[in-house]
Symmetry: C2
């Protein structure tokens, strides 16, 4: 994640303790926290950090393309730092756990020309749903 901090500095980001803590919380391979979860974890390291700052910082990271917003359930958005490797999401319909997955081939290619209605396509996001092994074995 120090790569991230370096990139942000290069783009003229002012590096505050709050932003550093948010970036640290998002460090990891398969992290998909809500804004409130990020805030709760950030508070453990920097007790005075406010929710507004967490929202601001997450929004900035999304604008900069360093973090992806994911909404798999119509409830709180989740923030995914795995932005530099395109991937899709596999979600358990029962417990909600999320895995990053990589389909073979580009989902965009599945949409035929006559189904594009003149749109200039930029991306396709896929959400796979099913039951995860631990929910399956729990009956």
């Amino acid at each position: 994640m120090s790569d991230l901090l370096q990139r942000l500095r290069d783009r003229g980001w002012r590096l505050t303790a709050q932003r550093r803590v948010v970036a640290e919380v998002l460090d990891g391979e398969h992290v998909h926290y809500t804004a409130d979860e990020v805030h709760a974890r950030a508070v453990e390291r920097l007790p005075e950090i406010s929710r507004a700052t967490v929202y601001n910082t997450l929004g900035e990271l999304v604008s900069l393309g360093e973090v992806i917003e994911v909404s798999t359930d119509g409830r709180a958005k989740r923030y995914d730092p795995n932005a530099h490797h395109t991937h899709q999401h596999l979600v358990c319909s029962r417990c909600g756990v999320i895995r990053d997955v990589r389909p073979s081939g580009d989902p965009l290619a599945l949409l035929p020309e006559e189904e594009r209605f003149g749109f200039t396509l930029s991306e396709a996001t896929v959400t796979y749903r099913g039951i995860c092994p631990s929910c399956a074995s729990a009956g």
Copy 2:
């Protein structure tokens, strides 16, 4: 939509004026209203209908599989009555307009076995994003 009303009656639904109006509002081919939009349109026909009833009815229609919940933007959920023809959605990144589209082939098939992590898959939902013709010509 009278087909829908018949199916609901067959399932023991009590057919009230409110439910009938919600079903009528959702009649159509490419309808993607939010709950509030459904409520606004329902009020035109039945001024005393409450928001709670609209939410209740929409929730029931979703449970019954007659309507699909769509959240393309992390804001209010939208309700799509085109539930009996599987389809995906094409969304304009600028104005938010939504089209129903049909990919060629099953998006589920794109996820290789080793990327399924033991999940029992049930569906894949795809959101295509791009710029619609009218936004494109508007600069």
